[in-house]
Assembly symmetry: C2
Homo-oligomer: 201 residues x 2
């Protein structure tokens, strides 16, 4: 064999080992169920990842719902597009609480948004539900943690749920099947770059 042939042969052998490992892991993963995913951490891309999964699911013809907690005072590109495909959605629409500076109206809005989330979590026609920025509602004490855990546990068994937001409560992390933490290594905004339409909202 030439040197090139030996190299190619080694590459093939390495790849065969990886394939055997991957195949073994795939064969072991036999459970099919509704998965609870939490995307937390201080980095950029948490809500975006949640909406990305809705795009994916809807692209396969699954039905999806979203409740946006906190955000929603400015036009949201993802909603613009996905609602054309029948996304069920509710927007809390009060903006960040430091914008409103009024605890009572925030609590009322949070409670109304949570009622919509409960309806989605009880709806067997929804294959996937995104609870965007829900973590802050727990942190501020606007929605009862036990209510959230109860509604998630009682949901249709094949329904997938995604929770996004910083500082997710420990009990939600324990409950989740998949947890990703997005760490900010670098952020353009901190270097003086404006938030831009299409990229940041």
């Amino acid at each position: 064999m030439s040197n090139e042939e030996i190299k190619a042969q080694r590459h093939r052998e390495r790849q065969q080992k990886i394939k055997a490992e991957v195949d073994k892991r795939i064969a072991k993963a036999t459970i099919k169920k509704g998965v609870l995913t939490v995307i937390t951490g201080n980095g950029k891309g948490k809500s975006t990842s949640g909406f990305g999964t809705l795009t994916r699911a809807m692209g396969h013809g699954l039905s999806a719902g979203v409740v946006q907690f906190i955000k929603g005072t400015r036009e949201c590109g993802e909603l613009n597009l996905l609602k054309q495909h029948g996304l069920e959605y509710h927007v809390m629409g009060t903006g960040f609480t430091w914008e409103t500076q009024n605890k009572q109206t925030d609590m009322l809005a949070a409670s109304a948004a949570w009622q919509q989330a409960r309806l989605q979590l009880a709806n067997p026609k929804l294959d996937i539900v995104l609870l965007d920025e829900l973590t802050y509602m727990v942190k501020y004490g606007y929605v009862e943690l036990d209510d959230i855990i109860g509604a998630i546990n009682d949901r249709p068994p094949m329904q997938h749920v995604i929770i996004t937001g910083r500082g997710c409560h420990r009990r939600l992390i324990e409950l989740a099947d998949t947890v990703s933490e997005v760490q900010p290594t670098k952020h353009a905004f901190k270097a003086g770059v404006q938030a831009q339409k299409g990229l940041d909202w």
Copy 2:
């Protein structure tokens, strides 16, 4: 003032302080430019976040392109949906290299995919370009790092670029404006849950 009123007053003051801080940071961020974002790390949700940003951008009427390196042998929900809205895309379509086990055909496919990426990075009509899983092409030596850096530097100045994949090369991280690292705290697959259509692909 009653106790409740005092509490409400304190809440308002705290929120006002946060708002002042946020407003100051927003006022400082005056640069408008094409942003290079890297989403790396071993956690789940990197490509999904990239596709989420395309959904967002397209929802605002921006034009977007994607080149998918490595993946692409099975139907992709995000592509299904976004191509209905005019997404420009190229799929390398060889699957993971441990599936093909043939370095030479992988390199040819990688090189063809990179040519498509170059075209997108040179196209002033594209507002945003996603180079999905590009990091592996650098790691395997299938695409020259200098070529990538050159094409990114020479792109239209307002074009946003997103690179996803594990183990992003240090020089791409240095070049990026925003870098998020997705850490896997927990993964359903490891607990024996199957990859499921709509959630995982």
